[in-house]
């Protein structure tokens, strides 16, 4: 009537897990010791007094119309840097997607994949510092830096999209004598265009966040304003810039959520 069921005792303690947790815990304590960081020190009366005094200097923020004008210009510049960088990167990545997906052979695939990985592994801020060296201070350096990093990211993403897309249409065109580039443009691109666009928009959203801080190394936008105000010890102005950054990020978050909900509603 009933076959013997093999009952295993519930896994109460996984030895591997416990060991791993202990090691991680130990290394964490070691980190605190190495940095000579005692979290308790943060909560001494002296430290708290310093912190509250520091925060106090930030209020009230400077809301004079002249300064708000400069802030508005900073916001527009930040948006422009991110938009332009994402746009140029998307165009380059479209071209890169062909070799990255292997349509030009394995050597081209290896080389372009390596380039994309290198471009995206170096953080945007490091690129910004390098670009400031190349073209001087200002938003152009920020645009170039974001463009380089984003090309790495999108190049890889576009290439993978292309690889996963069925090749029937472009193969058929190649049978009729078309070359690799044109068979891609006429056969595959109409099919993957929505996905590429969605990747690019998502990247733009992240780039807006990045563009606000690239200014710390002199690459324009709100970041450069903040660095400038803080170095002049003008905390009231600095707090306005920080609030502007916060508002921008929340706004972009909100808009993109709304758009995503509309898009899902349309597709569903």
């Amino acid at each position: 009537m009933s076959t013997p069921i093999n009952i295993q005792p519930a896994r109460q303690f996984c030895l591997k897990c416990l060991l791993t947790l202990l090691i991680v815990f130990g290394l964490t304590i070691a980190s605190f010791i190495y940095l000579a960081l005692n979290p308790a020190n943060l909560f001494t009366l002296e430290a708290l007094k310093n912190i509250t005094e520091f925060i106090g200097r930030f209020f009230p923020p400077d809301l004079s119309p002249d300064f708000l004008d400069k802030i508005w210009h900073g916001v527009l510049q930040t948006l422009a840097i991110s938009a332009l960088a994402t746009l140029i990167a998307a165009i380059f990545s479209l071209g890169l997607s062909l070799p990255v997906s292997g349509r030009f052979g394995p050597t081209a695939k290896g080389i372009t994949r390596f380039i994309c990985n290198f471009l995206r592994s170096v953080p945007e801020l490091v690129w910004a510092a390098l670009m400031v060296l190349a073209v001087g201070l200002g938003p152009f350096a920020g645009t170039l830096a974001l463009m380089l990093h984003t090309t790495g990211v999108l190049g890889r993403l576009f290439g993978e999209s292309l690889e996963n897309h069925p090749t029937v249409s472009s193969n058929a065109l190649m049978l009729n004598g078309s070359g690799r580039v044109t068979s891609f443009l006429y056969g595959t691109l109409p099919g993957i265009a929505p996905q590429l666009l969605s990747y690019s928009l998502y990247r733009w959203e992240m780039n807006i966040r990045m563009a606000t801080i690239l200014g710390f190394v002199g690459a324009g936008g709100l970041g450069q304003m903040l660095y400038y105000e803080l170095s002049l010890l003008r905390e009231a102005q600095a707090s306005t810039v920080i609030m502007a950054m916060l508002v921008l990020v929340i706004f972009v978050d909100f808009v993109s959520n709304k758009l995503r909900r509309i898009q899902m509603h349309n597709q569903g």
Binding site: V168, L175, N176, G177, S178, G179, T182, L185, G187, T188
Partner: protein, 259 residues
């Protein structure tokens, strides 16, 4: 120029044989129908002629060249003279009909022209006249996902017509069409071949269409060529032997009135 196949065999990568020892000669301007039960190897034969597959054994000379001994650019040039009509047209659905048709000449256009055509079609009259002959003119600027199966198949035919190749290969080109449209489409294909003295090879499932339109019929079964006869000599007996495994009678274009 036509083509010339000798002792052609093809094996799939998993070892199953698809074609064995096919020998076939066709002159320029001939119209040939290939018939046979499903899975007999008709599509494989057409794909080899289209230079999509390399035969495992035997020789194939298409339009005077051995495709697998050519350089990349010569192969490209050869392929632009061969037009393959697919059973399921491999056209991206979001594309417009006019762009899908213009894609036929990609092998003959320089790169800048192809790119320009994406933005603004360089030739509207050409695709339009192709569609006119297939009774689809009003769909010229529609998107392909607005078309029915039969309409999409006709767009595939229109693309090959626009390409104006010297060898027209059609893989079950009317499978999704009703009798009237099938006749229209096959008629157009044959007209195209005669106009330019191009060779036409069409694989068909409906035997009556083959017999009605094509002067030469080839029967294939289990990868082997059973017969190669002028259509007048193809008797019912021969056909029944070819389709012996098909349940019931011979596959013909479904007609509403019983015979």
């Amino acid at each position: 120029m036509g083509f010339f196949l000798q002792q052609l065999s093809f094996e799939h990568s998993n070892g199953t044989p698809a074609l064995s020892q096919i020998s076939l000669v066709a002159q320029a301007g001939e119209c040939i129908a290939v018939i046979g039960p499903s899975g007999s190897g008709k599509t494989t034969l057409l794909n080899i002629l289209a230079t999509a597959l390399k035969p495992s054994l035997g020789t194939a000379v298409v339009l005077g060249e051995n495709p697998w001994k050519l350089s990349k650019s010569s192969l490209k040039r050869l392929r632009s003279k061969i037009g393959l009509v697919h059973q399921a047209p491999p056209i991206p659905l979001r594309q417009r009909v006019i762009t899908a048709i213009l894609a036929g000449r990609l092998g003959q256009w320089p790169l800048w022209k192809s790119i320009l055509s994406l933005v603004y079609p360089v030739d509207i009259a050409g695709p339009q006249s192709c569609l006119e002959r297939l009774d689809l003119t009003d769909k010229l600027f529609d998107r392909c996902d607005c078309l029915s199966g039969g309409q999409l198949q006709r767009v595939g035919v229109a693309r090959v017509m626009y390409q104006a190749p010297q060898l027209i290969l059609a893989d079950e080109p009317v499978s999704a069409m009703d009798p009237v449209l099938s006749d229209l489409t096959i008629g157009v294909l044959i007209e195209e071949a005669k106009k330019r003295n191009a060779t036409l090879v069409a694989s068909l499932h409906a035997v009556d269409i083959a017999l009605r339109w094509f002067p030469r019929i080839i029967g294939i079964r289990d990868g082997q060529m059973i017969f190669d006869l002028p259509s007048s000599e193809v008797s019912e007996h021969i056909l029944r032997e070819l389709y012996a495994s098909e349940l019931g009678g011979l596959p013909i274009q479904a007609s509403s009135t019983a015979s």
